[in-house]
Amino acid sequence: MSQKQELLKINNLKQYFPIKGGVLGRTVNHVKAVDDISFNIYEGETVSLVGESGCGKSTTGRAILRLDDPTDGTVEFDGQDLLSMSKKEMRDMRKDLQIIFQDPYASLNPRMTVRQTLNEAMEIQKVVPQDERNDKIAELMETVGLQPHQVDRFPHEFSGGQRQRIGIARALSVNPKLIVCDEAVSALDVSIQAQVLNLLKKFQNEMNLTYLFIAHDLGVVRHISDRIIVMYLGKIVEMGDTKSIFENPQHPYTKALLSAIPVPDPEKKTDRIFLQGDVPSPMDPPKGCRFHTRCPFATEKCAEETPELRNEDYMEGGHVAACHYMKDIEAGVHQPTKDTTTVRG
């Protein structure tokens, strides 16, 4: 890990969205969508941001690309601070930073053929000389598994999976270093999803691409990621390599999340942790540990003190979690304070 080059470095990132109210439309409150998170991404790896709706994972992705301007914090990419860049500098930077969205249809201009779409992307970033562009387009089409004769078709003439391939081709056309995949395969049927996932893995190996994967499907996440960041209500609750997170989760939220995934094997019986109630509003997040209102292990301390991300000696690699009791829970010393565990089967 140590000899790897840091590509993206995020420090104390905050993204608050103001809520206007009252007769005068003053800011009466904030949605703390992302509240003070820090993490790094190394060159050539895939990091996944996981969590449920409202945890801030998509907001983080957008903030990194400055699709929204973050409230506070720094985002360093390749040693340069993105947040202090001017609009023009940022535009040049977008060549290295691409995004693939969930809905490929909504993100493609319906009036432009595939060729025009790809041409435009290369034109804006000036990465490929004009006379070489047609060759590059043909190459891209082949790479993402589309037929060369389809290049002059419009987005509506393609299926969902094919459109996602066009989205990938567009992202790849400017030779980026980092691609943010915001639920990029979520809308696809499994048979097509597998095709796209394999494609993404192939490009990573061939071009040393770095991915920031934002996804709610933990099967996809386990398959594609080197490292995983688990978010809950705008904060990181646990972070570590894929194996550690899936096989040795420490935070009670991560445990509950993983146990909730339905396993496609009727013979497997596992303990399932049922969480009570819904995620609280990010407008008024709970004090202390944000998970304490739903946590089976919560005590008074959890309601008062915010736990920091930390490593215990039995946790491997860069594995960290933010729970006051993770060591005691691991050792069986700290027992659930609420009854929420049920055996599945």
Partner: protein, 343 residues
Amino acid sequence: MSQETILEVNDLRTSFFVEGNEVKAVDGVTFDVPKGKTLGIVGESGSGKSISALSILQLIDSPGEIVGGEINFKGDNLLKYNDNQMRKIRGNQISMIFQEPMTSLNPVYTVGQQLREALKIHRGLGKEAGTEKAVELLELVGIPSPRSRVTQYPFELSGGMRQRVMIAMALACDPELLVADEPTTALDVTIQAQILELLKELQDEFNMSIIMITHDLGVVAETCDYVAVMYCGKVVEYADVHTLFKNPRHPYTVGLLNSLPRSDMDQEELEPIRGTVPAPHEMPVGCRFAPRCPFATDLCHEKLPELEDVGDEEQVRCWIYTDEWDGDPEVKVYEPEARTAKD
């Protein structure tokens, strides 16, 4: 079939007529729902699974139309029922819940008003008795402080809560069959776990039969007793859930399992199904899956196989399991070792 069945669907056909063309969304679907059990109908978009579900309650809108087949509910063919008779079945003996809890409740009526409606139609309960029963139902589906919820509007509830209200509404008249069309697809995974568990508890309590429409094989494995796999408007495989996952027979079922990224094991490489689902107007004449099937022969491309019995309760629509098979007689459709070796 040895078990008592509550619903038998035979050769159901539902088509959509657009600009003079017939699109066969459900093209001769046959399956049984055993009493007190859960039948999963699994398939990808365009497989016709949701249209099949809507056809059971005859909720197909123009330009769609049920063009043939039988839907036998406790021995009576529902397709012979008139509108009035059908209304007495809906929400009473057969209920349905839908994928989108956010839009499936009427925004301008309170939760209580919407719950009371079915109780009034099918049980003749007045406002007070209806409200009492509504509170009881909300409690049953695990909604906290149910008495104050009956006066709330849907927009005041979260997605998970709304789906619970939908379930409460569906259960109002103790249905014998619940049709659940992707009931957890729009929900977060921890909420999905709550809802699936709730359905299971309610099924045990009321000996209810369930049809679970889903694209998620995890949900199938967890909640279903029997499974029908659909592809392009047809059932390609029917089996009990253990057999289906242990010994899938149809190459499409195998393809689905091999495409699935698993959260419970490490996999090096996914094996996607090649190509894409054919467009409705370009449906192959032979087996619908032949163009994407790694085992397809000339026979598969030319002639459509029937859904044949291959065991006590198992059926598959594939030439490989027939005497006419003209390919490799030793063909292995599924090799489980390849999947679990890295577990």
